[in-house]
């Protein structure tokens, strides 16, 4: 599978453990994502909150680069990035004059032929039937709370992925790995997202609810496919516990961590030893 890779700022910043995990895991499945040269930030919340046009232009520039570099499929493992890329593509598809305007802004053409994929979709492309026989270490002790967060499934008319209220794609992968995902309520609730620095109390409150619900429903870990969710639930878990008085001790895994472990990759190769909350 020839696959372009848009890491986004998080995976080249403090969420570089996600990139390590992703490369190790996909490599085992013989998928080598190729990073787009000269990619720029998608603008994230700051762009869509402060400048609508910029929030289309920045992702559009990356779509143009992917096209220029001859790719048809583009993996964006950060749901914020993938949503922004898909939104820009959709708005330009619906409005030819916007497409022309943006193309002069970014000094490049976006024909719309690049397909943006989130991480779960890449596993679906590889095929769960191909992953299943490759499982060497079934994760029988694992009862993960599958946490989708906001932007993997929302807004549905933009991302067109799974079900926005009752998604099941992560649970389907967990079942293939031999894990027993729990049934719980906060799968698509927001963790506080980019407010980690700007408004910490939002993250402390929203992420506490997620961890508490996962714990109440018998989860012994969480699994996510979003770098921001991982920061808020893993790195901030100690602060959340101090703030609320709870004791969670719930490890938070990237999706590629768990697929990788099941395929027989070591925790160190996947970068799991670099997480904050350790498995007890």
């Amino acid at each position: 599978m020839r696959l372009a890779y848009y890491p986004g700022c998080a995976l080249h910043g403090s969420s570089n453990d996600y990139e390590q995990s992703l490369r190790a895991c996909l490599g085992k499945l013989e998928v080598e994502p190729q990073e787009i040269r000269e990619w720029i930030c998608c603008g994230a919340t700051a762009a869509h909150a402060l400048n609508h046009k910029l929030s289309i232009a920045l992702p559009a520039r990356n779509l143009a680069l992917a096209e220029q570099q001859g790719f048809e499929d583009l993996l964006a493992p950060c749901p914020m990035c993938s949503m922004q890329l898909l939104k820009a593509a959709k708005l330009m598809d619906e409005d030819a004059s916007l497409r022309r305007e943006i193309s002069s802004v970014i000094e490049g053409e976006v024909s719309g032929r690049v397909q943006v994929l989130n991480l779960i979709q890449v596993f679906q492309r590889i095929g769960l039937d191909r992953i299943k026989p490759a499982v060497k270490n079934p994760l029988a002790d694992l009862k993960p709370a599958c946490y989708y967060g906001c932007l993997l499934t929302r807004p549905p008319d933009v991302v067109k992925f799974d079900d926005a209220e009752q998604p099941s794609s992560l649970e389907a992968i967990m079942a293939v790995l031999g894990a027993k995902p729990v049934d719980w309520n906060y799968r698509t609730e927001c963790c506080g997202a980019g407010m980690t620095m700007a408004k910490e109390e939002t993250v402390l409150e929203l992420s506490q609810r997620i961890l508490a619900d996962a714990q109440q429903h018998g989860a012994n870990c969480l699994v996510t496919a979003c770098p921001m969710c991982h920061v808020n639930l893993d790195m901030k878990q100690g602060d959340i516990e101090r703030h609320s008085g709870d004791r969670f001790g719930l490890p938070v895994y990237y999706l590629t961590d768990l697929v990788g472990l099941a395929l027989g990759i070591s925790p160190e190769e996947l970068g799991i030893d670099r997480h904050f909350v350790k498995k007890v």
Binding site: C9, A10, H12, G13, S14, S15, N16, D17, E38, W39, I40, C41, G43, A44, T45, A46, A47, H48, A49, L50, N51, H52, K53, L54, S55, A57, L58, R61, S104, V105, I106, E107, C150, L151, R154, P155, P156, A164, T188, E189, C190, G192, A193, G194, M195, M197, A198, K199, T202, L206, M235, R274, H275, F276
Partner: protein
């Protein structure tokens, strides 16, 4: 849409007392009572700009069911719930919406837009309000810290093309310091640095793209000057 037709919607809803919709309307309009509707908002450029940016959100279609607010993770702690923000717009009280704390407390989770039975893009409304509110200097002083973060973020991308986390944190702290006015705020996250370092998550120098001049041109063409 003109104010006149917006008012017709209001009246149309108001004549069904005793229904859930009526109760939601009463809840939503409660906060409007002290503010004159049309006199406070003469036509001006911020209104025109906002109306233009709001157009794709279908904001006039809201019938105040309150589903956006029911699913909003931050509604309980803010001055105006999402349905009240939309209501303020429908009543012509654009300034009230633009000066609210709510628009900056919004985490852009998209739950409101996803669940709206009228396909109102409530999260898009929040974006439009933030954009124009900032341009017109109407952002709530209470929310300066959030505004400072978003501005520092965009400045950083404009300079480097990609996010430099340490630079972002430094600029954000300095920008927000005048409103936060505490050393605790300034150094609150400093303890994280060794923790991140230990995990090889700290990058003293962030990545930069080669063609940064192009990035600046993109920002300029989008009308995004450096955030002072």
């Amino acid at each position: 849409m003109s104010l006149f037709s917006v008012r017709k919607i209001t009246i149309g809803l108001g004549v069904v007392p005793g229904t859930a919709g009526h109760m939601a309307l009463a809840l939503a309009t409660r906060t409007e009572t002290t503010v004159p509707v049309e006199s406070s908002a003469p036509p001006n450029s911020s209104r025109d700009l906002l109306t233009e940016i709001l157009a794709p959100t279908h904001w006039t279609d809201c019938y105040q069911c309150g589903k956006c607010t029911a699913g909003c993770p931050v509604a309980a702690g803010v001055d105006m719930a999402p349905n009240q923000v939309v209501r303020a717009l429908q009543l012509g009280n654009f300034e009230k919406a633009m000066t609210s704390d709510a628009i900056w407390a919004c985490v852009s989770c998209q739950t409101c837009s996803t669940r709206c039975p009228q396909s109102v893009d409530c999260a898009g409304i929040m974006d439009a309000l933030r954009e124009v509110s900032l341009q017109r200097g109407l952002a709530s002083p209470e929310q300066k810290t959030v505004v400072a973060f978003q501005q520092a973020f965009l400045n950083n991308i404009r300079r480097n093309g990609r996010l430099d986390e340490i630079e972002l944190i430094a600029e954000f702290k300095l920008r927000a310091l005048p409103s936060e006015r505490s050393l605790r705020f300034l150094f609150k996250d400093a303890g994280l640095a060794p923790q991140l370092q230990k995990r090889q998550k700290l990058h003293l120098r962030g990545e930069k793209v080669k063609d940064r001049a192009l990035v600046r041109r993109i920002f300029e063409r989008c009308g995004d000057g450096k955030h002072a």
